[in-house]
Amino acid sequence: MKTGIVVFPGTNRERDMAIALHGVTGRKPEMLWHRDTALPDLDLIVLPGGFSYGDYLRCGAMAAHSPIMREVKAFAERGGHILGVCNGFQILTEAGLLPGALLRNGGMRFLSQDCYLRVETSETPFTRHWKKGDVFRAPLAHGDGNYACDTETLAELEGEGRVAFRYASAGGVVDASDRASNLNGSVNAIAGVISANNRICGMMPHPEDLVDPLMGGVDGKPLFDGLVEALVR
């Protein structure tokens, strides 16, 4: 599987992502520069976490206008697979590749702690190594992860099974009004969504930071294992 990681000015989780992808694919991902205007041959593009453009104005807003995003959109139109994590998710929504927006966390503070995610569908290349209802742990680290969208979009996402992950308690209970599990206050406790064609996934928590027992566990690894299985040509 050939992977590429987009680096914007201010991106800071590209190395974490590269380690995770290298681990499962056995090959180093290509680092793509925000000013690049052509893409190499790739099976998966990842928009990693960080503070592109300092998260100034709105998280992801300025990165969404980078030259490379034209190529990423064309890649998406060709049916390419894209994963956006944290700031990458914010960029995908700002670029219009995924619906909704990420607002300031409900508690108005940056949050950096482990959360639990319930897998809402196993019918995607990103979640196929889990069963629907599985719960896994993932670190999160963001100030603006409070997922919001209008009511029609929400109905559409829910109706089409396009919510990939929800924040849950360790026991798997989802309660959007519970600040202890739905840490940032996201609508319907949504932590990750999928595009209509099932090929673009955005999520706030960081599965790439939990792929090695030494770093505290391998809860995030199924996502990458699933992608390898789905995308290896």
């Binding site: 104005l57 807003a61 206008h65 927006a101 607002l103 206050g185």
Partner: protein
């Protein structure tokens, strides 16, 4: 020409920052506060002498970058 672009959350979009400030103001003994909404003001100093043209360009900037129209409204005004 200076143009001010004011960006605010659309009505109906929950404003976590406004809510937090409202709460803090209550704690600080301002019980009269009913609602708080927080927005951004972006003051643009443009190398453009024509007011109409400046405003037009500011609107383009707002649509293109300054406001996220999924959640935000904006308005522009010439300041000087």
């Amino acid at each position: 020409m200076k143009v001010r672009v004011t960006v605010s959350l659309k009505e109906g979009v929950l404003d976590p920052q406004g809510k937090a400030i409202g709460h803090a103001l209550h704690v600080l003994d301002f019980p009269e506060v009913r609602e708080v909404r927080v927005g951004k003001v972006i003051e643009l100093d443009l190398d453009e002498a024509d007011a109409a043209r400046a405003q037009e360009r500011a609107i383009e900037m707002a649509k293109g970058l300054l406001a996220n129209q999924v959640i935000e409204d904006f308005r522009t005004e010439i300041v000087q």
